[in-house]
């Protein structure tokens, strides 16, 4: 029953966070300096009528939150006919607006690119988790030895290395050997079946390796620190006193207990992982959500920026929720706070 309370609490928190993110998203793009209409059409010689027409199309002629006048007139429902209500309504319908640059539906744009980012992030993260946890455990176990120092230095170094710069270095090194940009070689279509997907896979190698290296370094440090804390606990001394072999102590006691904070940290750093994906996609021109955001920034395509941010934030919130659920399964001591 306590676990259920915990889950309900976490769900509620996730829900409120999503609401806050949605409202923040709305606010952010309403406080843009300058006239939003001007952002759409860059000509300074726009006539008044043209401005009004554009305003109407995008619903910018309505008040932002609440129409006081209509409320006083008795039109209570009409009083809520504001930009904010339109935003919420559209959001719930899955309508995220239209790209300024390509006139394409933002939701469509996001839907077609989302899986590319997922593949990249998942691939890199899974590799990083396995490698990071194993190497981190070894480093902690062999605390103080040159092996530990070497591993620690690798971890610290990869923390200091900006993700995009690692991408650039790998790009330079792999030039000529592996594809360095885009998702497929020009001209190849999905109809080509296996050939197409093999090509995609080839293009995926460098970006995934980049992600992998960066996050392996980070997870090594987290795991190492976590395991060291666990190994300093009294029950480890008990295990040793009992005559338990090092291997069994590590596996049955250290690993299990270090896993819990590790899960929390993986979830917490997932936001950082997503940020890394933006950088990697930009460097390797991998056409995912990250690259989309980069291009949208350059083109000042605000609806796309807004939509991608929303999508990324929502994903991270959900990932954290998942981690909380996982945590409650792993840790039998979980109680309602």
């Amino acid at each position: 029953m306590e676990r259920r309370d915990y889950l309900v609490r976490k769900l509620f928190f996730a829900f409120t966070t999503l609401v806050v993110v949605a409202v923040f998203n709305f606010l952010l793009f309403r406080i843009l300096p300058g006239d939003p209409v001007r952002l759409i059409i860059h000509s300074p010689r726009m006539t008044r009528e043209a401005q009004e027409r554009i305003r109407a199309t995008f619903g910018l002629d309505k008040p932002v939150w609440f129409d006081g006048e209509r409320f006083q007139e008795g039109d209570i429902l009409g009083a809520f006919d504001s930009q904010f209500t339109a935003y919420v309504r559209n959001l719930l319908r899955g309508d995220l607006g239209v790209s300024f640059a390509t006139r394409q539906d933002v939701s469509e744009l996001l839907a077609e690119r989302a899986w590319r980012t997922v593949v990249l992030v998942l691939g890199g993260d899974v590799i990083a988790i396995f490698l990071g946890m194993t190497i981190g455990l070894i480093a902690a176990w062999r605390r103080g030895t040159p092996l530990d120092t070497g591993i620690l230095l690798f971890g610290l170094f990869s923390w200091a290395l900006p993700t995009f710069f690692l991408g650039i270095i790998l790009l330079i090194l792999a030039r000529g050997h592996l594809p360095t940009g885009g998702m497929v070689t020009a001209g190849l279509k999905p109809e080509a079946g296996l050939l197409y997907w093999a090509d995609v896979g080839e293009h995926l190698i460098l970006p995934t390796i980049t992600m992998g290296i960066v996050y392996t370094g980070e997870y090594i440090l987290i795991m190492r620190s976590g395991v060291m804390e666990v190994l300093a606990e009294d029950y480890i001394l008990t295990a040793k006193a009992k005559g338990l072999s090092t291997f069994r102590t590590l596996r049955d006691h250290a690993l299990k207990n270090a896993m819990l904070p590790m899960v929390t940290m993986i979830a917490l750093t997932f936001g950082y992982t997503v940020g890394g994906a933006i950088q990697v996609e930009t460097v390797f021109s991998w056409p995912g959500i990250g690259r989309l955001m980069y291009e949208a920034v350059q083109k000042r395509d605000y609806p796309v920026l807004q939509g991608s941010f929303l999508l990324l934030a929502v994903s991270v919130v959900l990932a954290n929720l998942l981690a909380d659920l996982l945590y409650s399964v792993l840790d039998p001591r979980v109680k309602a706070e």
Binding site: S225, P261, V317
Partner: protein, 313 residues
């Protein structure tokens, strides 16, 4: 202080400190060291664009014909300014929030921690990216964005420390003689938390510098300044096809240099402050037992269960 003596004994920390000193000196003496003034307009011929290194331009020229080495030298200033200012801001906010939430607890504490949780969940780079895209590029905006979003980890850290410290003898004694909240926090709790904060601050500076360089690389840096991230932005867009490694690599290595120096220092400080990370049962059981015995004998050993920067909550 005793901590300083410990610090000097650790090679990693000393190396980090030296590396940092180099950057500081370069930044301070930039006008003297840089062979050219990066802001100065120069007449360039097409041959000068992305020219490889030669005697007059030790690191060659960039895509606009300007000297790369000078830009690299001046870039140190931006990184340091952003790093220290943003970090100071976030440490200040984080420490205040952490102390208040930890000491007063109750509704205020919970409320503050909810806020911390909100901010922690939202992904950093996308949020910063979106805010700067809307608010406009500029040094102040960058510093604000990094500083106002980076305090959450510190807040959690400080709060958990405060929670354990406030139950200690000397705090209870101070309260019993009627000392008020602010006084207790400032005179009793803060000094205890300070070593942890300092270790965390150093790491925070490196995080801020990396954040600035990422934002600059993605095209959101201050257009009136040269930062290493911005150099990489230009280099990536214009120099990569020409394989102009002299423009592509030095800024990146510079970023690594300064981040690494801060991380080495910070990690060493953290090891000093957090004794649990020094050794463990499977490695040196005898020492561990000795430490434990020392603890129970009443000697003041720092409290366990602290968070390291890469540690667990």
């Amino acid at each position: 202080m005793q901590a300083l003596k410990q610090f000097v004994r650790k090679p990693m920390g000393v190396i980090g400190a030296v590396m940092l000193l180099v950057v500081l000196l370069i930044a301070v003496f930039a006008p003297r060291l840089a062979p050219y003034d990066p802001q100065e307009r120069v007449q360039v011929t097409p041959d000068d664009i992305l020219a490889p290194p030669d005697a007059e331009h030790l690191l060659g020229r960039d895509d606009a014909g300007k000297d790369v080495l000078s830009q690299l030298i001046y870039g140190a200033r931006v990184s340091l300014i952003v790093g220290f200012t943003a970090s100071f801001m976030s440490m200040f906010i984080g420490t205040t929030v952490g102390l208040v939430a930890g000491y007063y607890g109750g509704r205020i504490g919970n409320g503050l921690m909810r806020l911390v949780d909100f901010l922690m969940v939202i992904p950093d780079l996308p949020l910063m990216l979106v805010i700067i895209a809307v608010m406009g590029r500029g040094l102040l905006n960058i510093i604000l964005v990094i500083g106002l979003l980076g305090w959450t980890y510190t807040a959690r850290l400080v709060r958990s420390q405060t929670l354990s410290i406030k139950e200690r003898q000397f705090v209870l004694r101070a309260r019993s003689i009627g000392a008020g909240g602010a006084r207790i926090i400032l005179r009793h709790i803060l000094p205890q938390v300070l070593p942890l904060i300092i270790a965390q601050a150093v790491l925070d500076i490196s995080v801020s510098i990396l954040a600035e360089s990422s934002l600059a690389f993605l095209g959101l840096g201050d257009p009136t300044l040269i930062s290493w991230g911005m150099m990489l932005n230009f280099a990536f867009e214009r120099a990569i096809s020409r394989q102009a490694w002299w423009f592509l690599l030095p800024p990146g290595f510079a970023i690594v240099w300064i981040s690494l120096s801060l991380i080495l220092i910070g990690n060493t400080l953290d090891e000093i402050v957090n004794p649990r990370l020094r050794t463990h049962h499977l490695f040196d059981a005898r020492r561990m037992v000795a430490l434990a015995v020392g603890e129970s004998a009443g000697r003041r050993v720092s409290e366990g269960g602290q968070d390291g920067p890469f540690g667990c909550a």
